[in-house]
């Protein structure tokens, strides 16, 4: 069973969000990286870009597959993990830690309520992830 940290919120597309005040750190889940396999390429928005909840904000590619990244929350990108460009495999090794992707300054903190709880996400993954 994949690791699903209790303190994070989740999307149905397998992103996680860690809300810290008016900001949220965003990445993909352990389940997502397992499904993708070896990540070889990560494309992220630049600092200052705006991302919109449920819309794509980047791309992650494994040896076999291309997968869009969907923003859990809307806002302005205030940090992007440029280390992933050089070391994309970090997404596999540490999806909730060093493998984070962007930090967003939230446009509407109430959007957090629409995200899945850890328990809900665990259930989704247990059902095969769809």
């Amino acid at each position: 069973m994949s690791n699903v940290p209790a303190e994070l919120r989740y999307t149905r597309e397998h992103e996680w969000a860690k809300v810290e005040g008016d900001r949220a750190r965003i990445g993909i889940t352990a389940f997502a990286q397992e499904q993708l396999g070896d990540v070889v390429f990560v494309e992220l928005p630049k600092v200052g870009a705006r991302v919109t909840a449920t819309k794509t904000f980047g791309v992650v590619e494994s040896v076999k597959a291309v997968s869009d990244l969907f923003a859990p929350l809307s806002g302005e990108v205030v940090e992007a993990n440029t280390e992933l460009v050089k070391k994309p495999e970090t997404v596999n090794a540490d999806p909730y830690g060093q493998g984070w992707m962007i930090v967003v300054k939230l446009a509407d903190p109430k959007q957090v309520d629409a995200l899945l709880s850890a328990a809900d996400y665990e259930q989704l993954v247990a059902g095969g992830g769809h």
Partner: protein, 373 residues
Amino acid sequence: MTQTPSTGPLKRTPLYDVHVKAGAKMVPFGGWEMPVQYTGIIDEHRAVRRAVGLFDISHMGEFEIAGPEALAIVQRLCTNDASSLAVGQVQYSLLCYPEGGIVDDLTLYRLADDRFMLTVNAANIDKDWEWVTRHGQGGARWTNASAETGLLAVQGPRAEALVQRLADTDVTRLVYYHFARGAVAGVPALISRTGYTGEDGFELYVPAGRAEHLWHALMEGGRDGGIQPIGLGARDTLRLEMKFALYGNDIDATTNPLEAGLGWVVKPAKGDFAGRAAIEELRARGVARKLVGFEMIERAVARHGYPILDGGERVGVVTSGSFAPSVERCIGMGYVPARLAAVGAELDVEIRGQAQRARVARTPFYPSKVKKA
């Protein structure tokens, strides 16, 4: 990998349960439910280059033809010259349509003077069987042994020592594209020094019912040598580093052998065969496009179907592409106009609307380690 749509239920090899138990991720491939990876594609790829890997390729098809006219029929169907093949030798060859497009690529085994085996791609078994039995009649009998045959590939620098230890015959005397009969771990096998990885190694044809026994014996015997089961994902990256064509990706009915760089297995001097006239006409005219290997300048993954651009114009198409674990770059194969086919030629690959620079590369991308002598 292109997954050919299948109408029926997915087929399984005799080793399906073994793969599931080993934790493999199973995916549909060419109508078969196959392991795409066990531990991870990059890890498996490196295990084959560094040590030894075990592949279940039982999904591939095996046809036999026997009879006084077997050679003549094979000569009419295949592009390469089977008359030059000694008993115990293997040859890479093609089946072509009269228009020159490719029905399938295959390996041809001369089992006896009047008996051959053709190993064909899994997704093409039905199409090929229909093709060879329709166009290859008279004085020989075809047998489709695909369902009764298990096929394991043992590939990597430690493959020879492993197979030698388990075999009752001296496999070290076999060189690339030769085979012998023997028993491996007590299982009667056709031991073929062939593969699809660029590494030294063997492909072992065994009765389907004994494939599992052989699998476990090889895993057990190779444990100290670092053997790992290898899925189709790494099989694909390994063959891509060698620029080996994959039917359905790089070659198909719409591509001809000359543009695919397979003119070396087309032997018009041997006499008539399906596709000969069309291919000779193409040879005289010169091909408009060529299948090249390229490497991406930046880290960006080109994939099957992505456009190849020159000065913003679409001039070609990517047929295979991936991050290549041993080359440690993103590489690919694709068709480009002949004027852009020289090593060093620069072009762009369109990736999600962006032109990414690429350069035609020397191939194979990774040096072949097969046992030539």
